[in-house]
Symmetry: C2
Subunit: 149 residues, 2 copies
Amino acid sequence: MLSPDRAGLRTGEVAEQAGVNIQTLRYYERRGLLAEPVRTNGGHRLYPPDTVALLTVIKTAQRLGFTLDEVADLLEAGRRRHPTPDLRQRAVDKIAEIDARIADLTAIRGALTEVVDARCDSLTNCTCTDCPIPFLTIGTAEHPDGDPT
Amino acid sequence: MLSPDRAGLRTGEVAEQAGVNIQTLRYYERRGLLAEPVRTNGGHRLYPPDTVALLTVIKTAQRLGFTLDEVADLLEAGRRRHPTPDLRQRAVDKIAEIDARIADLTAIRGALTEVVDARCDSLTNCTCTDCPIPFLTIGTAEHPDGDPT
DNA sequence: TTGCATCCGGTACCCGGGTACAGGCTTACC
DNA sequence: GGTAAGCCTGTACCCGGGTACCGGATGCAA
């Protein structure tokens, strides 16, 4: 039946080589990121060797800021060829998202710097002169100009 | 007993004025962010009026990147005076965290830009010349030169 | 006093990305 | 053929920050 030399990789081998948990493999399978692999007669999974590379791709995409759903979509779109909104466009969108987050973090950083510079010593009863805390309204409320949902 | 004019604010009033859900108030109480308020004879909560301001402070601190546990700590440290690691130090630490996060996002942004510039069209079977995707190893693995943990 | 809005406590559920555990079967090596 | 390591399924749990729902009790005004 299954050739004795190298019929595929077993779960543990894939997990170890890719540096992920075994449970994660099955989780990805449920989520549609990994196709269901062939099985031995006894029901054990046998993965094609490029699964390790695929996992690397998934992890990279995650690092790029894509959610698992988005990665699943991208992989799916890659398999079937007819172009859904493609990778390039998604990357462009993701860059915009990232820019927004960076801007957000930068504003927060600025506010924190104010707190440090003013030598604030309490959130509620700060004794520093010109305490900035009451004025830290960064992103608190609905932006009046357009709702960036 | 409770003076008829204004013995305190009711849950719904606080929630509305602070722009949070009623459930959130009780959640914060469980988490130690809000002290247990006095009650009416019937058991309804009556909050001191400055609770609204306190909630604003909490929300601001959250926006500054503090977790609820950290906020609870900071508020607690503010109440009892003897100085635990103080707000200022925590703000400094938080700035470092944020800087790291920004650096991370910036690296990711760079990688995404490469993907866009190269006109990649697939995560796994990209047809573009000099496809950068196989080389996107940003933060993937243990850096060989020194481990910045 | 009645009626409706509000509030009560308790519990369960949501998101995203996994991880852990129990109890049983398969595979591999000697 | 024995035995240990590895794998199977299913289910439950973790994190953080809430949110939803339930049946019952209260508050308050008319």
